[in-house]
């Protein structure tokens, strides 16, 4: 008991201080920069709104299908690109001559079916 009592007291005064602090702060804000206060509010938390209508499940399904179709397409395209044979030294040549990242060098080289001259020209004339 004796231990908790002062604790409470401290808490109490702190809360008061808080309130006072806030008061002062608010006054300052209104005086100086109302705009800054508005900006502060941008990060406030807010509850999400729920939709009342129930008739949306078919839409969800439809969009889900659409999405998986897209994914298939993308995977297929990536697979196609991965099939292209590229040489490591070609990638390095492109990186060194044109100061591009490895991923970009490799991507362009694959898109040009591994033709290093075409890849160099593609980057230059891009």
């Amino acid at each position: 008991m004796t231990e908790t009592e002062p604790e409470v007291e401290v808490n109490g005064t702190e809360a008061e201080d808080d309130a006072q602090d806030q008061d002062i702060k608010q006054k300052k804000q209104t005086r100086h920069d109302g705009g800054a206060a508005d900006l502060e509010r941008v990060t406030d938390y807010a509850e999400e709104k729920e939709i009342s209508a129930a008739n949306i499940s078919s839409a969800v399904e439809q969009f889900g299908n659409q999405r998986s179709k897209e994914n298939e397409l993308r995977v297929a395209k990536e697979k196609e690109l991965q099939k292209v044979q590229v040489k490591k030294e070609d990638i390095e040549l492109i990186m060194n001559e044109l100061l591009v990242s490895k991923t970009q060098a490799e991507k362009v080289l694959r898109e040009q079916s591994g033709d290093v001259v075409a890849a160099l020209e593609a980057i230059i004339s891009n």
Partner: protein, 893 residues
Amino acid sequence: MPSSEPLPPKEAALFRKLLKCYEMKQYKNGLKLAKQILSNPKFTEHGETLAMKGLTLNGLGRRDEAYKYVRLGLRNDLRSHVCWHVYGLLQRSDKKYDEAIKCYRNALKWEKDNLQILKDLSLLQIQMRDLEGYKETRHHLFALRPSQHASWIGFAMSYHLLGDHEMANNILETFSQSQTSIEPHDYRHSELLLYQNQILIESSHLQQALVHLLKYEPLIVDKLAVRETLGDLYIKLNLHEMGVPIFESLIRRNPENVLYYEQYMVARRVSSSSDIVSVYREFQAEYPQALCPRRLPLNIANGDEFRVVADEYLRRGLRKGVPPLFVNVRTLHQEADKAVVIESLTLQYFENLTRSGHFSREDADAGVPVEPASALVWTALFLAQHYDYMRDTDRALEYINAAIDHTPTLIELLITKGRIFKHAGDPVEAYVCLEEAQSMDTADRYINSKCAKYMLRADMVIEAEEVCAKFTREGVSPMDNLNEMQCMWFQTECAMAFQRTGRWGDALKKCHEVDRHFAEIIEDQFDFHTYCMRKMTLRAYVGLLRLEDVLRRHPFYFKAAKCAIELYIHLYDKPLKSETTIEEIDIENLPPSELKKLRSKQRKAKKKAELESAQAAQAQVKREQHQKSKQQANQESDPDAPQLDELIPEKLERTDEPLEKAIEFLKPLQQLAKENSATHLLAFEVYNRKNKLLLMLQSIQRARALNPAHPVLHSCIIRFMKALASAQKQQPFNVHVQKVLDKATKELIGTKTPQQLNDEFIAKHHASSILHLYEGARGLYELDPSKKDAAIKLITGFNLSKLRLEEAIKIYTALRDGDVFGDCEKEAEEYKLKCQQRFQYARIFRNIEELEAQLQEKEAAKLRAEEEQQQLNHLDSHETSAPSAPVSVMAAS
């Protein structure tokens, strides 16, 4: 997956409260709750609570403690999604977005369908513009919670941003049909409808957009947007007559919107210039106060009609004393015949106002009442500005001096006088005028800024800072405050002043500061990802995202980046000596007494230097300690976290890799300012020094596509050919590279040799363009240094009267500095004398001693004048001493 150490009900309730407190930003209460849980001996080590305590501390700005607790919590409970999520949030608030994404992914490993984590992940993905990833996450959220508004909006938006308008529209359409009860004046719903309409327009489904807009018009509260979009759609869909009443009403609402008038003309299908002018006349009658219907006809009218409308417009402005009258008509000067008309009209005003107080002889004959006396001053000001625009310095000064004699207290006059001197090449005289103008109204921020800018142009950084201090926050150094306020024009002008005076490090610091402002503006968009979605201001939000994507296209960035690239190139060409080797003077040939003096001087300098370096070392140690403690606080796992280093001029100018630094500034320009030749010419300079032939070629090709006649392009081609030949000599190229180079050079110059190419170039531009000729002469010398004299003759022989000041300065500095044609002091001196006669105001061509003598003379005159004034005052006070005494007593009491 639940936490590995579940809390009992009482503590669990407290923990939930703690989460709530964090969300509501009640950090102090949150800390108390955390303390309550942790004070239970069984849970002193509870991972999730410790992590939340850390995050709460971060909310209070106690960053170091925050990291400590969050890490401790995570270590105690590595399988908790809460701990990982919290760690991600903390990293995010520290702008370490990549790290934060990793943390979120770890969190999702333990709880893959957690809404909050997915939401936070999607925010980072949109911030980093990982649009595919964003779509993925948004779909996941949508599938989990199709009942929430935000799920639909975010899902649709992810498609829109990837350019799939159809899918985006489908999602929004389905969504708005599922909305059954919409209250009237629902702003969010209204914004959503307009957003959907925007998507339809962007995908060129104009008919559909029109139908959509008309259908939902009653539900949309932004009536102005509806009108504007509707009018635009009518025109685009060829339903012009439907657009006419819309634009009429828009003009009635705001008669100062230029676009409305233009669209109105299109809708009414008036195209001939005299018809358009008469329509504007109708508007003039209808809205007599509006400026647009008076000013816009000046753009359209031609010949005599232009003379009539310009006459009306100018008289009105001069009579009322509209200060920016010249600025309002300046764009018309681009058409030479209009400039002639404006000149003849204002000359006529000036003549007649002087003679009879009327704008024209006809007015005088007709007995029209005289114009206000001020009209003469405004007319003289206008003429001064006009002749300044034409770079006729003498006449400009004549008129401005006449105006100042008439009304010495008008600030605009002094500003214009300063501007005339600036354009004539005398930044010092210019700033003197501005300083005087500034002293006349110290409460005007515009004139204050202008004055500072002119001081910077005269390389007076300290004085400029002092002037700015009148408007910056007290108690802070003005330089720091201007940086904090992101005052970029000031910083860029500072950088250029430092560049001119050879303070490379200081200049670089300013450029980097500007670059950081842009980085910060991009950071600042983060909070708006949630805010805009919640407030449904989606049109504005998409606009923001698109702006941020091309932010560094802004001219402010271009200027600063160009300056930085030039500085780094300079530092590469002429690296600074390390500080120890600077002071090696030839002491062998000195007489003993001199030597003694020198020695004692050196000793003193050494002592001072030692002291300074000791201080610097101390500061350095402190800084390092500071950095270390910061880094330790950060984390052991990722040493390459983006730390914002302090920008230290001495370090910046002694970088080991100036070209790499230059490329950092260059990259955004190449991406975002590719329509500017200067970008590619700068790129050439960098890659030339890096000896990357293919990239040199790339820069040439890009610059050539934009403007094949750019003078500098020629020099780039010659230097490219030269570099190609010398590289080939050293080492044969890789076969592939050789192939690319062969093909491209053939396209570029065919089979000509560089010499041939250069000779042809010179022959073509011999008498027409000094800038081209200069590049040709450069090529001549570059290809064969023995032709130095011929090259110099070529440019110094060009008719000086055809030269503009900027061109003369360029030629002269090239000769003076000896970088381009080798040492040629004599020729430079001769050229300077010739230029001095041609451009008598330009400071650069004048003798420094002479200028200083002049300045001292002026100072002395000023002092004398002040003394005389004081004596006069003294006399005055003697004469009036009796009545003034009570006043001073009053003041004292």
